[in-house]
Amino acid sequence: MTAVPAETGLKASSERGRLARARLLRGLLPALSLVLVLLAIAWLNPRAISYFGFSLMLNLAIPIALATIAQMFVIAGNELDLSIGTFVGFVGCVTATWLKDAPLVGVLILLGSICVYALLGALIYLRNLPSIVVTLGMSFVWQGLAILILPKPGGKAPDWLLSLMAFKPPFIPFPIIAALLIAAVVHFGLMRTSYGVILRGSGGNAAALSRAGWSLLKTKVMLFALAGLFGVLSGMALIGITTSADANIGNGYTLLAIAGVILGGGEFVGGRISPIGAVIGALTLALAASPLLTFMHIPPDWQVAANGAILIIVLAARVLISRRER
């Protein structure tokens, strides 16, 4: 008599345990793929695994991680930003010119551009526009402005930015500390605060959120403003590393940022995103993009292909694991 419920209870709990394990594994997957890439690098070139090696290999990971976080905010609200790459380029051009020569004007321009992002969010919500097209149009706007500011490559990063990006803390390379910091701050803000839940909820179930009395206009404006803020940070970090700017410097970041979010376990719809995963995804992409391929002695012709292949392999692994979740 008592054996039956006990057995079903056991079954249910083992089922739950299996699901929890699969979910944990899925959450760990971005980290696993990063470890895999690191192991491959260590195996191919043990000397790269050092303070100096990491500082060098992960140098460009900071702006990529920041741009990925910016894209993640937009994806959290079920939108997509196709302009983040050219926006990073625009910010870079402002940083290398106005921010150095007339800091006050530079700061105002950058704040203004964040406001433009916020207004775009409002426009997309109020007129119910497809964000893909609006941001596609904006990508031309940012690129045009960047070319107007800096017609040919040049400019110079402000000194304080240069010394910040060249910071050499003891024991742990700066890019790793920066990545941890970015991940921790965004994770806390988006995953642990009550308004963070509301923001993600606007992607998960907008109708329910609006019936509960929350303004969807505000959440959309907030998500886009945050994307703008992190886009600005990404552009500044990039110029801090490269020291000078070029109007096309950020163009590759649009697709890189989308790939980073997805690699980090985010999904295009439903507000399912992970800040820590996104940062890890960006690091994986940054490492897989060039250091790994250089160490593998892949001829330049096939480096892009290897990049695509790595993306496919990681995502395939994710599918194998999430299939067990169902």
């Binding site: 426009l123 596609l136 149009g137 107007l148 989308i258 012709d301 892009v304």
Partner: protein
């Protein structure tokens, strides 16, 4: 009056009005000079955007997240394949076109294989595939300097009474695509999947087969476009398709196709393609710098989409 209101309610009419306004603005600027030539040039350039745009339209109609980002790489590789097979030889034109089509179809099928087997979101799958295709193109087309066969080059530039023959053929093709979309089981299935993939599946639509066909179709059109571009611009090039990455998405959406899927519009693709090409011509005629041209292009795209308003769109 009622018919006018009916016409204005069509989502594709705005892109044609936009194209007309841009053309009138340019004519006003030049004082009526070169208006006809401008239309001829716009028609011959719009053709290439329309061909890939129609392919992209079918893909986007499949529903949220469906988009083919591999088209630019596809165009690049197919242009190289077509030129290599034709080898400057008039008798090989048809074989070269078929080879480019086959190359594009193989890419489309490979895209769907990735999406189906690995359950990767189509954006990422086609993006990763485009990296691989790009590498193949770089290594296959290295140092490729084969001119198109003279017959093929003059065919792509052939005009009758100022109207490019390629444009006439593409109009016929668009009519075919519109019939396939609205009146054939294939097109209705694409629309059904875009509206509700689960409902379509329950209604007995073979979802997998239709999606496979759609990605293959998009790939094939990319391949055809590559061959034609190589003929028109007198040679293959790795970067020949780059500008079509954004252009083919833009014409689909400006043309009134819903990004949320399930609602497609063929005439709008033509209107939007003409609009974009004429816009570029207008800004060039005004003699503005590259920066201002990009800035205005962007602002006008945002303005047009804001004025036309969005329908129910998930993103």
């Amino acid at each position: 009056m009622a018919s006018l209101r009916l016409l204005l309610a069509k989502p594709w009419i705005w892109s044609f009005i936009g194209a007309l306004l841009v053309w009138l603005a340019t004519i006003a600027f030049t004082g009526g000079y070169g208006g006809g030539g401008m239309i001829t040039a716009a028609l011959s350039l719009a053709v290439f955007t329309v061909i890939v745009g129609v392919g992209q339209m079918f893909v986007i109609t499949l529903g949220p997240g469906n988009v083919d980002l591999s088209l630019p790489a596809n165009i690049g590789l197919a242009s190289a394949v077509a030129m290599k097979v034709m080898d400057g030889n008039d008798s090989m034109i048809v074989v070269g076109l078929l080879a480019a089509l086959a190359c594009g179809m193989a890419i489309g099928a490979a895209n769907y294989l990735l999406i189906w087997a690995l359950r990767i979101p189509p954006i990422i799958a086609t993006l990763s595939a485009s990296f691989i295709i790009q590498s193949i193109d770089i290594s296959y087309g290295r140092g490729l300097q084969i001119k198109p066969p003279p017959g093929f080059a003059s065919f792509t530039n052939w005009q009758i009474l100022g109207i490019p023959v390629l444009a006439i053929l593409t109009v016929l093709f668009s009519i075919g695509a519109a019939i396939a979309l609205q009146r054939m089981i294939y097109g209705r299935s694409v629309l059904a999947i875009g509206q509700n993939i689960r409902a379509a599946w329950l209604a007995g639509v073979n979802v997998g087969r239709i999606r496979f066909l759609t990605y293959t179709l998009s790939g094939a059109l990319g391949g055809l476009d590559g061959a034609l571009l190589a003929g028109y611009f007198r040679g293959a090039n790795v970067d020949i398709g780059n500008e079509y990455l954004l252009a083919c998405i833009a014409v689909v959406v400006i043309g009134g196709t819903s990004v949320a899927g399930g609602k497609a519009n063929v005439p709008g693709v033509w209107g939007a393609a003409l609009f974009l090409v004429l816009l570029l011509t207008m800004l060039n005629t005004f003699g503005v710098s590259a920066g201002v041209r990009l800035l205005l292009t962007g602002l006008i795209i945002v303005g047009v989409i804001t004025a036309a308003g969005g329908q129910k769109a998930l993103r």
